[in-house]
Structures are given as structure tokens and as C-alpha cells.
Assembly symmetry: none
């Protein structure tokens, strides 16, 4: 739904909405059993919830489109991911609470390993520890670039954020990360004429980084991608008239949430801590985005059994979510990550919505097969929050 | 579908389409029985029809959007309700056959009751009789406004239409009706600078109305809302190449029908009279919109049992509709009005279409649960008429 229309319809109400996102939720059948990860997992609370909910599938971006985490989440926040596009650099910077300024240009950095000929042999430098990465970042901070400030911030393991601050910078700079092994890092080139000056500054920084890292194997080179500036987007409190909070541990999801105007609450990695944080902050907000990462990680690793186990773990949190008595509870995913594919996929994502004003569906459990009987059908993920708004009494009538 | 595309595809044919609208059609389960109004009602003809039809649900405006009667009907007439937006004043004026001119500004009026301090204690003045309202309207007609004509026309019970006619009038005037009790009537202000002169005229009229009505309790004040001008919309005969007729008793629905170029036939309140009117005029038109209001009224009153009874009543008319042998028969609703909510809602609306060229569905009866098996799925209401046009042989092939 167009955000201008949302703004016109949204009204305040004394109701609460919870969006529980299981990252990479949807799956595919195991070749031996014919059952998906969800269908294999023991999830009594999710199954009970499905029987009391309106059920269906979300399409994160469009038919056949495999979304990254950014578009997948933005859609669930009600933002059209084809309109609200965001650079990876900005996502990473905001996610670590870096105070990005509107004129800054940010990129996502990777430490990597190159061989003697300069070819990349490991794009993640053997996933070096965050401590080691932080030491290397300290060294990179000594690199000076003419007339602008260069910030380098550690993120986690081999990841860092690179930010240039100064006058007249552009984000029209091409990735130096070829995103494949066996290739050499790409030169920092301009995507358009406006990016030439900035690309030259980046190229100079990369050259100095190469020199500094040369003897630091396995992290003997750095790659940059996703040059971007901070977008200026409508904020959820303004558009949806919600007080929104994010209960998410991973930087990128916190960053996404903050970009749409959510407050990102401090939270530890364990799901128990997410639930405790939710309970402690229940009175302060009326929309909660709760993020559970580990289903996706297991899927991306191609680990069917671990994904099954992670669903069982997530299921234990459902009881606590229900006990908070939200007016609307949604269980959703940002995209599918079938373990059999070991990657994000385009498959529609299981979705259920529970509130007091729902029609009875005939879904016996929370699974890809059963949800096909759901009344919501297969619908754009960006319509999930408008639907929740209606169920929470937060949309006015349209027209006389 | 875009009306320009409809215009390109539409062709004349010797076929007839009937759209039977049960206002507020969709419902929600009764908390005790788990069955909706439709599932509780004895509707053998509707059930038989469902077994011979293509079945599904319409979304009147958009996911999560609760439509007013205007947008809900415009969508069923094939007009995108987000594009074809209409002010309440115009709707009411056209509905009582007032000869609204393009430069007129119309508003919906309510007689109301205010207390000694001027606060509204009953927005509908105890629903005074149409006779009493008509007498008060006579008095209001004596109010003179500088340089323009002011028309006041009774509608029904506490409702009236207020029209200003003259040069340079604007509809950018704010409602004086706060739409809640306990508040004072609002001043007639301008929504934009263009509305200032007109707002001043309205304010003067309201002041004189207040003086005239002061001793006429319970109707001791008047409220105005929905200032609007006649829109200039494409007409159904031109766009759809149909000769369309409306069989509707309530002014607002007649008004809506006329705005899209239908001829509004004279009809009594009883459904029998609607059927008789349809039969009498069968040869003169090829599209008939038949409106049945009482399902919505019962739903809005929160009267589950009465809504059930009204479905049973409507069902008796289905036999007569079938006997007319229309090429396409659609049973639809402008929106859902669940009795458990006592209000319009955003829930998708049951829909069936019967013609000779349909695929077999597996819907055993006309109900919210059974129609979920339908082949039409959940689709935008504005696509219903294009679908009917196809079934009626009234759409040309697109492209070579």
C-alpha cells in the first residue's frame, strides 16, 4: 500500500501489534522424507496458533524474486522494497550505531585472503575473529585521504564499515568486491560521471589498505561494496502512527529497523533475552518487531536438521508471545531459505495473523502444505502490516 | 482495470449482466457457533448457485482497508475507488435527484441536538421523522446568503442536502460536523486559501441556521460535512458500452449509480418490488445493478440473527434472478459488515459469478469458508465487472 494512503488512514489506538520474524522461514521438502523443515520440526505452539489464525503466504518482493535481508524486512515493515531501496553500506553503518551524516558515503567492507598473484582465495579471510578484525581496523584508521575524513569501524568477524565524510562526495562508486573467489579485487570506478572524484579517493584508500594488509594474511586484502548514502524515508511513527520497537540482535536488522524510525532495543543473542526485552518494554511501545536469526543461518549452511531444531527452539517463545496478549500477532519470514538450496530463495513465505476478528481457516498446523488452505492466500508481504493495522483498529474507514 | 483499456476492449453484444449487491455481505463467526451469518442462514438458492459458479472473494479497496459505501460500490462498477473519489455532499445530492450543476458546492447536512453550552448530545437529533425534517428544511430555505443561492433539500429522517450555487465557489471547506458527540460543532473554515470566501458564506449560513433552530429541539442545530463538487467521470455507457440501470431504493446508491452514468429506476423498498422492476425493464437495458440494503443495516446494528434472516429473505429473490436467464449473474457485496463488529470491515467479500463458460469449482455452499475453495481466489473488486464483460462476450481480444 502506498505510504501516503497509509498516512491518510492510520489512527492511534490503544492496541499492540507483534511481528515475530523467523529469518529464512520457508523451506522445501527433504528428498528422503518429502517433508519441509517446518513439517519436520516439533512446533506445538506454532501449530496451535495456526489453527486460530488467518493463514497464507507472503511474497517479499515479487514473483520469482529472491530477496536480500533488506528488501525482505522492509516489505514486512510496510515499505515497498522496489521503491525503498537501500545500499548495503548504509545498512551496516546504521546497524552498528555509527552516526552516519546525510552527506556521508558508506560501504560494507570485507577482509579477504588473496594469493601471491592477487587473486581472491577466501572472500571472508577464514572468518577471522572480531578481535583480530578490530586490530586490523585500528591500522586502517591511519590511512589519510586528501580533504575528506575516512572512518573504518569493525562489525563482526571479517566485516567492517567504511565511511567517507566531506564535501561533494558521491555514492556512484562501483564495488571493489567481485563477490566471487578466483577473481582479483575490482578497481574502484565511477558508476556515473558524478562519482569520479569519490572513486579516485576510494581507489587511493584501497591501495594504501593493500599495502598495510600485505603481511597480515589471512586478512591480507580488503573488499568494499554497496557504496550508499543515508536515505530520507518516511518514518513509521509518522506514517503508521505507531510507537515501534525492534528486538533484534544482529546489526543489519537493527539498522533496517532504525531506518524506518523504530527504536532498536538492546538485546543479547539468545531468544530468551529477546522475550525478556519484549516483556520489559511492553508498556513503552505498540509495535514490536522481534527478529530470530538462526533459522536462516542453518538454512544458508544447508543444515536441514539444525534448521528443524531452530524451529523447535523458536516454538518455545511462542507461548510467551501469546501470554503478552497482543491485539495482533503475526508470525512471518523475510524470505525462504530452504536448507536443500543452502541459500535465500524466491518461494512465498509462510505467514499467519492472529487477532479477535478473523475468519476460521482450515489450517491444521504451521507448515507450507497446510497454510495453502489459508484464507489470506499468497499476497505481497508489504500488505501484512496494513492488514495488522486494520485488525488493531488503527485504520479509519476509507470514503463515505 | 484502467478504464482506457476497458474502453479499448469493450464491444456491444446481445447479452445481459446482473450484479446483485447484498450490502455488507461478508461476516465473521458467531462466538458460540463458530459459523458466520451466511453459514447460519438458510439460503438454498444461493448455495445451489455457488455450486454452479466461479467463486472467490473481492477486496473492495485494498488489503486492510474498510470501505465506505461509495468506494465499495464504485469498485463493483469497475471504477478504481482510489482514483474515483467522491464527496459525501455530491453523493447525497445526486441521490435525491437534485439537479446539481458543475459549479455547485454540495454538503451533507444533519439535524442534531446541542445542550445549553452548545455541545452536541445527539448527532442525529433523535432521528426525527422525515416530515418534521422537511418542515425545518422549509424554514432554513428562508436564509439568504450574499450573492449566491442556497438550496436546502430534505433527504430522510435527520438528513438533508445543502447546496450553494453561484460564481467562484470552492469545495475547499472543512466539515462543521465533528462526527462525535460531546464536542461543539466546528467552525466552517477553509481547507486551502481557495476556500476562504466560500467558507465565510457557509459560516454565515450556519450562524443563521443556529438562530432559526434554537427553539426547535431536539433538532436545535445543523451540521455540515463532505463539501464537494460534481465530478466529471467517464460514463459506463461510453466506457463499457453497456446500457446500465440501477434498481436501488436508497438515495446514496441511486446517486452513485447515476454518477457513473446508470439510469436509476424508480423502486419501492421491498425486494419484491426490485425484482418486479427488474422484470419490467428487462428489455430496456443490458446491465442491472440490484441493491439489497438490509443485510448491511442488520450488521451495522450488531444484530446477528436479523442479518441471518435478511440473507434468507434475499435468497428468495435468487430464483427470480435465475429465471430471467441473464448471461452473467454476479452475487457480490460492497464490503463486509460482520454483526460481531457492528460496523463495516476490511474483510474480503464473498463473490460468485455464473455464466455458461465457467470452470467447475468445489464450493458446496455460499459461505465464507466454502468460497475459499473457489477458483477466483481473493481479487480486487474492480476486476469483477471486466470479468463479467468477458463472460458476456463484451470484450474483444487484446492484440493479434
Amino acid at each position: 500500500m502506498d505510504l501516503d494512503l497509509v498516512r491518510e488512514l492510520a489512527q492511534e489506538a490503544d492496541t499492540k501489534i507483534v511481528l515475530f520474524v523467523m529469518d529464512g522461514l520457508g523451506g522445501l521438502p527433504h528428498p528422503e522424507t518429502g517433508r519441509t523443515e517446518l513439517e519436520t520440526a516439533y512446533t506445538p505452539h506454532l501449530d496451535m496458533l495456526a489453527r486460530e489464525s488467518a493463514c497464507g503466504f507472503t511474497v517479499p518482493v515479487g514473483t520469482g524474486i529472491t530477496p536480500g535481508s533488506g528488501p525482505g524486512h522492509l516489505a514486512l515493515f510496510g515499505y515497498d522494497p522496489l521503491v525503498y531501496n537501500i545500499g548495503r553500506g548504509v545498512l551496516e553503518a546504521v546497524g552498528i550505531d555509527f552516526d552516519l551524516q546525510p552527506s556521508d558515503v558508506a560501504a560494507r567492507g570485507n577482509f579477504c585472503t588473496v594469493d601471491a598473484s592477487g587473486r581472491i582465495i577466501d572472500r571472508r579471510a577464514g572468518r577471522i575473529s572480531t578481535e583480530e578484525s578490530t586490530r586490523l581496523v585500528e591500522g586502517l584508521r591511519n590511512i589519510r585521504v586528501d580533504g575528506v575524513q575516512a572512518f573504518v569501524e569493525p562489525v563482526r568477524e571479517h566485516r567492517f564499515v567504511f565511511v567517507l565524510r566531506g564535501d561533494g562526495l558521491s555514492d556512484a562508486v562501483a564495488d571493489t568486491d567481485p563477490q566471487k573467489e578466483g577473481a582479483e579485487p575490482l578497481p574502484a570506478g565511477a558508476i556515473s560521471p558524478a562519482g569520479q572524484a569519490t572513486a579516485a579517493l576510494v581507489a587511493k584508500w584501497v591501495e594504501e589498505a593493500r599495502r598495510y594488509l600485505a603481511d597480515k594474511a589471512p586478512a591480507n586484502m580488503a573488499l568494499l561494496r554497496g557504496f550508499a548514502r543515508l536515505p530520507s524515508w518516511p518514518a513509521m511513527p509518522d506514517v503508521f502512527k505507531l510507537r515501534p520497537a525492534a528486538v533484534a540482535h544482529y546489526p543489519m536488522y537493527r539498522g533496517l529497523a532504525k531506518l524506518v524510525g523504530m527504536e532498536a532495543l538492546a538485546v543479547e543473542p539468545a531468544l530468551d533475552d529477546s522475550i525478556a526485552t519484549l516483556q520489559e518494554n511492553w508498556g513503552r511501545f505498540d509495535f514490536f518487531f522481534v527478529h530470530y536469526k538462526y533459522t536462516d543461518t542453518a538454512g544458508e549452511d544447508g543444515d536441514f536438521d539444525r534448521k528443524v531444531a531452530k524451529f523447535a527452539e523458536a516454538d518455545t517463545a511462542i507461548k510467551s508471545l501469546i501470554e503478552l496478549e497482543p491485539d495482533v500477532l503475526m508470525i512471518a519470514g523475510d524470505h525462504s531459505t530452504p536448507a536443500t538450496m543452502a541459500a535465500h530463495s524466491w518461494h512465498p513465505v509462510p505467514f499467519i495473523l492472529r487477532s479477535k476478528n478473523i475468519r476460521a481457516d482450515e489450517c491444521g498446523m504451521f507448515s507450507e502444505t497446510e497454510l495453502q488452505r489459508g484464507s489470506l492466500g499468497t499476497f505481497p508481504a508489504m500488505e501484512a502490516l496494513p492488514l495488522a493495522m486494520a485488525h488493531a483498529g488503527r485504520f479509519k474507514k476509507y470514503g463515505a
